[in-house]
């Protein structure tokens, strides 16, 4: 709880500070009442963020860290989060977006779907490769039928049809 509050505070300071910094170069525009142009509203929001960040930090410093036995017991019994999966998902998503232009949406989408299915099963899981390949092909076919044929949204192509 306390660590959350500190991180939240820093998030607020970072974002609020960035907004204040970036809007410093925006022009003042007269005739807009107290508004004074494009910087005014973002600065109001940044000010609010900085205040709430400070409030969050004060709360974190004032409240001692409390260990809830029930929560820590529950946390121990539930499986640990698979952060490797999270990192893998991020990398696959970035990889997909980079590959769309060279190899086209359908090929990139097939690879993303297959790689993600394998990632979720576990990288050491060697079974069911064929079913994952068939599943990925099925998803891409469904996407083609629904979005290209039925709705008419043309998805990016590459050099090949895919």
């Amino acid at each position: 709880m306390r660590r959350d509050a500190v991180i939240t505070a820093f998030f607020c300071f970072l974002l609020g500070g960035f907004v204040m910094y970036d809007t410093a170069s925006y022009p003042d525009v007269s005739g807009q009442g107290f508004g004074r142009g494009p910087a005014f509203y973002p600065r109001v929001l940044a000010g609010a963020l900085l205040c709430f960040g400070l409030l969050s930090l004060i709360r974190a410093l004032r409240n001692p860290r409390r260990i809830d036995p029930a929560a820590s017991g529950a946390a121990k019994s539930s499986p640990a989060p698979e952060y490797g999966n999270i990192a893998g998902l991020m990398l696959l998503s970035i990889g997909f977006t980079l590959l769309v232009k060279p190899i086209g949406f359908f090929a990139a989408g097939f690879l993303l779907s297959f790689a993600l299915a394998r990632l979720i099963r576990g990288v050491t899981h060697t079974r069911r490769i064929v079913s994952d390949l068939l599943f990925s092909a099925g998803v891409i076919l469904l996407v083609y039928v629904i979005f290209e044929l039925f709705i008419g949204i043309r998805l990016p192509r590459a050099m090949l049809f895919l």
Binding site: I7, G33, F34, G37, G53, L89, M90, F135, F147, I151
Partner: protein, 495 residues
């Protein structure tokens, strides 16, 4: 225009098979999304929003209304069968529903849940039909100052009821407001936070941001750990409820529907709050109070009547004020804006057929989920166990297409991925996506009206407190944000 005239203005939109298929198809998709744990009504609507781009505004809204109403019902199916609510609005349903299922009464629980949802849904539409035009008439007197107050009210309420602290909800809301400032300033057209990018000149598009925070964030969360779904409890039999028992439960359903509709009408409240409130009230009022939670039909019926009545209630602020009643209506507002329509009181005057279509579409969707729910209970028992290695890649692909289809640019896919990752990281520090998205949707409304109010008053800030409705809204905002903490502090001092 009278209530009856407004209800029938859009009847002709249903005189063709295509419209019927859209509402039925949307309802079935909604039922599937709501039934599968991990998929939500919001995700379903966000993912299928791009499908509506080639439809007319009427057909697009019909389809999305079907998904919305269907998914609000079907969260109860997995709550009853495996004690994992398919949607947050079904949390209270599981208290008694799963207990009934463990006793071999899963079919009975589903039957009563479906019937209560149907009656609650119809009641919600009745509330919508009578309340929305009245509020819309009232809102015609609103100026920039009042709309500023209403937009702030939406953010205050969602912050207050957000899981986690009010402060984190507010921070999420403000983050959403900041995201909405990216692009050209509404008044001076000066580019803000564009970093020289031509893609950012038009600002962040609503769909990639919404789908990112509601859809891709959930994919990240589901990637973290396997949700072990136990085999669906027992056999599914005896689904059809007994008419005599329904008659006995009618007063309970009526009260729960009233609670659900009124809570649903509070901007940003939603079905989860509505169903919990109704369940809590029935538990206090009922003669079987001690048995709530042990597996009684009263518990299931109270929660389900309320969460579907809340759907009709959520449409009230959306249609009459242009303020989302819950995250799902935020997506509907997005759909209306994409079609060049501005939700608010003027919509009742300029497009009564669209308003009527929403009313009638709600009713059609209620009929659809009643039939599908009662007939397809066994099917859903198998559906809810779709493994995540098939579910998550499919959802991600659909999310990506949804983001891409807006402007046919990969930039929006990047926005989707970044928002998904940001939403996941924010969840880790206790900031949920709902306030962020509501802030993003309300941002343009808030800034536009706030600055216009100041321009009209020549920079005089007292303009927000000299107008009675604006002052009242500001005081309500203050009470929502500070009131509970102040009351708790005073109680502590007295103790």
């Amino acid at each position: 225009m009278g209530v009856f005239e407004l209800f029938t203005a859009g009847l002709s939109n249903f005189a063709n098979l295509y419209s019927i298929l859209l509402i039925v198809g949307g309802s079935v998709i909604g039922i599937i999304f709501g039934a599968i744990p991990g998929l939500t009504a919001t995700m379903g609507m966000a993912v299928f929003l791009p499908v509506t781009f080639t439809m007319t505004d009427i057909h697009g809204i019909l389809f999305l209304v079907g998904i919305y109403v269907g998914s609000c019902y079907s969260g109860s199916l997995s709550a009853i069968l495996v004690n994992i609510p398919g949607t947050p609005s079904a949390i209270a349903t599981g208290f008694d529903g799963y207990a009934m299922a463990k006793r071999g009464e899963a079919g009975k629980a589903i039957g009563y849940a479906t019937t209560a949802s149907a009656l609650g849904g119809v009641f919600g539409v009745l509330i919508l039909m009578f309340a929305a035009p009245v509020l819309a008439d009232f809102a015609l007197a609103f100026s920039a100052q009042e709309y500023t107050g209403v937009a702030l009210l939406g953010i205050s309420i969602i912050s207050y009821i957000s899981f986690g602290s009010t402060l984190k909800g507010l921070i999420g809301g403000i983050f959403g407001l900041v995201l909405a400032t990216v692009g050209q300033d509404v008044i001076s057209a000066y580019p803000r936070f564009t970093f020289g990018s031509a893609d950012l000149q038009a600002g962040l598009q609503m769909i990639p941001v919404m789908v990112g925070f509601f859809g891709v964030t959930e994919v990240f969360v589901k990637m973290e750990r396997e949700v072990v779904i136990r085999r669906a409890a027992s056999r599914i039999a005896g689904v059809l409820p007994r008419p005599g028992r329904l008659f006995q439960l009618a007063p309970l359903m009526a009260v729960s529907s009233v609670v659900g509709a009124f809570v649903g009408a509070i901007p940003a409240a939603g079905g989860a709050i509505a169903s919990m409130a109704a369940y809590g009230i029935q538990k206090r009022l009922s003669r079987k109070s001690a048995e709530f939670g042990t597996g009684i039909t009263e518990g299931v019926v109270a929660a389900e009547a309320a969460n579907n009545a809340a759907v009709g209630g959520a449409f009230v602020p959306m249609l009459s004020l242009g303020i989302p009643g819950d995250p799902q209506t935020a997506i509907l507002i997005g759909a209306l804006m994409i079609n060049g329509l501005a939700p608010g009181p003027m919509l009742f005057l300029t497009r009564p057929d669209l308003i009527s279509t929403i009313y009638i579409g709600n009713v059609f969707s209620v009929v659809t989920f009643t039939v599908v729910g009662l007939a397809g209970a066994r099917f859903f028992a198998t559906l809810i166990r779709v493994p995540r290695h098939y579910l998550l890649p499919s959802i991600l692909i659909f999310c990506i297409i949804g983001a891409f289809a807006i402007r046919n640019t990969l930039f929006d896919v990047w926005v989707l991925i970044v928002c998904g990752a940001a939403g996941y990281l924010l969840l880790k520090i206790g900031v949920t996506p709902a306030p962020v998205i509501l802030g993003f949707v309300l941002g343009p409304i808030l800034e536009d009206n706030f600055r216009r109010a100041l321009i009209m008053s020549g920079g005089d800030w007292t303009t927000f407190v000299t107008r009675p409705i604006s002052l009242a809204l500001l005081l309500i905002n203050l009470f929502i944000l500070i009131g509970p903490a102040l009351i708790a502090h005073l109680r502590k001092r007295r103790a």
